[in-house]
């Protein structure tokens, strides 16, 4: 602490650490897991958690949603939303798969472009996502239409493109070098699928970007108060394009991984993924009114969704009941979120 000549006696301004908001969400996750553990012993006679296979599947199931959620979290922090992620997953999966076919397939989409290095398929998938994101961002930034509408348009059109691309036909017989990206590896005796590793990598990078870089500061500022952000010299339009582009790029990545895991591209891939991703972000404490949210929260939110699905299956709860309960939990999370915000405002 130092003084300045205007100061007189300087105040002692510390920076005491307070608990990050994710702690409460982590508590919810642990609580849910314990409930399943107890119910498991009562109804199934087995442990829910002490099962490496199950834990690995939980994360694998949510890693695709998780990657999308990391992108959409950033969009929501700017007080926007991205409804197009699921459709972009489908489109990117189709495009990537069409460039990853083997020559063994007599009806390949591009017979001249078979048996290629997987890098082209991956780049094409990412490029499709990036492009969709840039279009979303430009619409929001330049025409000032609500993000809901801009991305709704992309959601419908991208799905249409995915179907039109092969006139509704799936793209099959993909090269092993491409499907390798959906495989698992044993790390310290724990079966870790590559999609999970990619998900965690993406989460760490985006967490660092949001927390420590100018990109992150601008993202929060725009969501917290766009007018003040503008007066602080921030180019809002340009920055929004970046945020939507990153969300699109991550949807593209999710599409590539979906195709690699399924060893095919299908135009119906990724339907309603955007809703799970938004739900994960919101459960993780991201506020739909902008300015608030962290990647760590979103990762936990994603895992909560995975644990719920896996736990219900483990307890042999019917699929219909699963959806009903999942819906209730999402709404409850938003109610709690608003309550939390109101309390913060009154404080």
């Amino acid at each position: 602490m130092s003084t300045n000549e205007i100061a007189g006696p300087a105040n002692v301004i510390g920076s005491k650490k307070r608990l990050p908001p994710e702690v409460s969400i982590l508590g919810v996750l642990i609580g849910i897991a314990i409930v399943f553990e107890i119910l498991g012993w009562i109804f199934v006679g087995d442990s829910f958690l002490a099962n490496k296979q199950r834990l690995s599947i939980i994360i694998l199931q949510v890693s695709v949603i998780g990657i999308i959620a990391v992108g959409v979290t950033q969009v929501i922090i700017t007080a926007g939303v991205d409804l197009s992620s699921g459709s972009v997953v489908g489109l990117a999966a189709m495009v990537a798969a069409s460039l990853a076919q083997t020559s063994a397939n007599p009806r390949a989409v591009y017979p001249a472009l078979t048996d290629m290095s997987p890098i082209w398929a991956i780049l094409a998938g990412l490029g499709v996502g990036l492009l969709a994101g840039i279009v979303n961002g430009s619409l929001v930034a330049r025409t000032k239409i609500p993000p809901f509408i801009a991305t709704l348009g992309m959601m419908v059109s991208a799905r249409g493109l995915a179907k039109w691309y092969t006139l509704g036909q799936p793209v099959a017989l993909l090269d092993d070098s491409f499907t390798w990206f959906g495989k698992s590896f044993n790390i310290l005796g724990f079966p870790l699928p590559l999609p999970v590793i990619i998900f965690l990598l993406v989460a760490v990078i985006c967490h660092i970007a949001l927390t420590y870089t100018r990109y992150g500061k601008f993202t929060y500022a725009i969501g917290a108060n766009p007018q003040a952000a503008r007066v602080s010299g921030i180019n809002i339009g340009g920055h929004l394009i970046k945020v939507y582009a990153i969300a699109g790029l991550l949807s593209g990545l999710a599409g590539v991984m979906t195709a690699a895991r399924a060893a095919s591209g299908q135009p119906g891939m990724g339907v309603a993924y955007e809703l799970d991703a938004i739900a994960a972000a919101v459960i993780g404490g991201t506020s739909l009114s902008g300015g608030v949210g962290r990647i760590t929260g979103t990762v936990i939110g994603t895992i909560i969704l995975g644990v719920l699905t896996s736990g219900f299956t483990f307890l042999k709860v019917g699929a219909y009941y699963q959806e009903i309960i999942k819906g209730i939990i999402i709404v409850a999370a938003v109610i709690i979120d608003q309550h939390r915000q109101n309390k913060r405002k009154k404080a």
Binding site: T213, I234, A347
Partner: protein, 512 residues
């Protein structure tokens, strides 16, 4: 405090002689965090009279009016309506008691028709419970006939002019059979002919025995329409008089006539070269042909009434709303300032008028709020914020400004207005500005913090910063400025040197 004898001694010209007061508000006090907005204020409104509220910006007129309209609850004081003590529970309650406010910012629903707007919540119904549109139209026509208003009840409000919308608002207020009508600067957006029409309606209402509270900054209107007026200053009641017994100069003196009691620590500093030169700056429909120079070390005050275009000029210089015509020269070079980012690149900083709307990021903490304007400077390397250095400097500057907080991670929303303002000033000081534009730097903050901010402004000028300071507070403007530029209705009406400037001279230039 003046005795109320003045009032009783002078029966107001034109008022219906009734003796009884429609509304009596006595010893009303209202505090907001850090400020006393009203300090034992009174207001007595006669039946069948137009009562004007006069005072500088921030004198407490609007607060008093909002108390009468039930929007604010007074901390203490008595409130009598038609001789009975009442306590208003909200604006709706006030309306039901016959007190209606015609808002400056009109509260009509643009896509709905005139009749629907007037009878909303009170629509006449048919026996089956459907809205009776015929009856509604008839009632609206009757109402309009009573008030001499010529507007089609079936037309969409959104298609009407501002003046017509105001008529609809007035008719709506009258439709509640209100006895007390509050009008807050009703003529600010009207042409002369529309003003005449409005005055005809006001006179008709007065003849029907209504009491009208009328807020205005325009002297000539006061003499034309008001029977009585009350003057307020710094949240205190000064006097009530009949408009026939005073002159324009008397009123100005009552409004500003006070000693400058606060000491302004303005230091004499050497004044350097012109750093900001504005020539013929114009923003269509807002202000035109604004020209002035500011030198390093100089404090240029900008005075003028709210709505005169003062803030718009500052916003245009900073690139928030780029100009339509005219040039801005910075350090001798003409610069097209098309965004705040450009302005900042050239060493400008801008403390905006509205802390909540354009200043604070209320959801974020003090640290983040302080750092927001330096994210495109040397504090960021390869995209990564140099948090260690920046954190250290932020803490240092916050301590220097005496931001009262235990913790830089405290959400800024939890700070008082004065402390929020200090955080925002800290934000701009971190950018090491050479030209500092301040829009109402001490609005709504307590005396202690005010003095600290004044000292700081003075000190910055001493370091060679050119300061442009917009202020509604006369003593602040007079006490701090080397020169004062007065703006009226989007035009510069004069410059006053420190030696010749006085409150009366400013008021004369600021209102015609």
């Amino acid at each position: 405090m003046q005795s109320t004898g003045t009032m009783e001694a002078a029966p107001a010209g034109g008022a219906a002689v009734d003796g009884g007061y429609l509304l009596e508000v006595e010893n009303v006090r209202k505090e907001f965090p850090g400020v006393v907005a009203l300090d034992n204020v009174q207001l007595r409104l006669k039946r069948g009279s137009v009562h004007a509220l006069m005072g500088e910006n921030g004198a407490g007129k609007s607060t008093l009016m909002k108390i009468v309209a039930g929007i604010y609850t007074p901390d203490s004081g008595s409130f009598k309506l038609r001789g009975e003590d009442i306590k208003l529970r909200g604006p709706l309650d006030a309306l039901e008691h016959g007190i209606a406010m015609i808002h400056q910012e009109l509260n009509l629903m643009a896509p709905m028709t005139v009749a629907e707007n007037i009878w909303i919540r009170r629509e006449p119904l048919t026996r089956l419970g459907f809205v009776d549109h015929g009856e509604m139209r008839r009632k609206t026509s009757d109402l309009f006939k009573r008030l001499n208003i010529d507007i089609d009840p079936e037309v969409q409000v959104g298609t009407l002019t501002v003046a017509s919308r105001q008529m609809v608002e007035i008719a709506k207020a009258v439709s509640y059979e209100s006895d007390v009508l509050i009008m807050d600067e009703p003529t600010s957006a009207l042409t002369e002919r529309e003003v005449d029409h409005l005055f005809t309606i006001i006179r008709a209402l007065r003849a029907q025995g209504k009491g009208i509270i009328y807020i205005t900054h325009k002297m000539n209107e006061l003499f034309e329409i008001a029977d009585e007026f009350s003057v307020f200053r710094d949240g205190k009641y000064i006097a009530t008089k009949a408009s026939t017994e005073v002159t324009r100069d008397d009123i100005i003196r009552m409004m500003v006539g006070r000693e400058i009691t606060q000491m302004f620590p303005k230091e004499e500093v050497p004044i350097g070269d012109v750093v900001l030169s504005v020539k013929g700056l114009t923003l269509k429909g807002v202000f035109s042909d604004v020209s002035f120079d500011v030198r390093s070390g100089e404090i240029l005050g900008i005075a003028g009434l709210v709505g005169s275009g003062r803030s718009n000029i500052a916003e245009t210089i900073f690139g928030v709303t780029p100009s339509d015509a005219g040039t801005i020269e910075l350090f001798g070079k003409t610069v097209r300032v098309d965004s705040p980012a450009t302005a900042m690149k050239h060493g400008m900083a801008f403390l905006t008028e509205d802390r909540k709307e354009t200043g604070c990021f209320l959801l974020l903490d003090i640290q983040e709020n302080t750092q927001m304007a330096v994210l495109q400077s040397d504090y960021v390397k390869n995209g990564f914020v140099q948090q260690k250095q920046l954190g250290k400097d932020s803490v240092e500057i916050s301590a220097a400004l005496r931001v009262k907080t235990p913790d830089m991670a405290e959400p800024i929303i939890n700070l008082s207005g004065g402390n929020q303002q200090k955080v925002l000033i800290a934000r701009w000081l971190l950018t090491k500005p050479k030209i500092l534009i301040l829009d109402e730097p001490t609005r709504g903050i307590d005396v202690g913090a005010k003095a600290e901010i004044h000292r700081l402004i003075s000190k910055l000028a001493g370091q060679g910063v050119a300061v442009v300071m917009i202020s509604s507070e006369m003593p602040e403007c007079l006490g701090m400025s080397d020169r004062i530029m007065v703006v009226h209705e989007g035009r510069v009406t004069g410059f006053l040197d420190r030696a010749e400037a006085s409150q009366v001279k400013i008021m004369e230039l600021a209102s015609h």
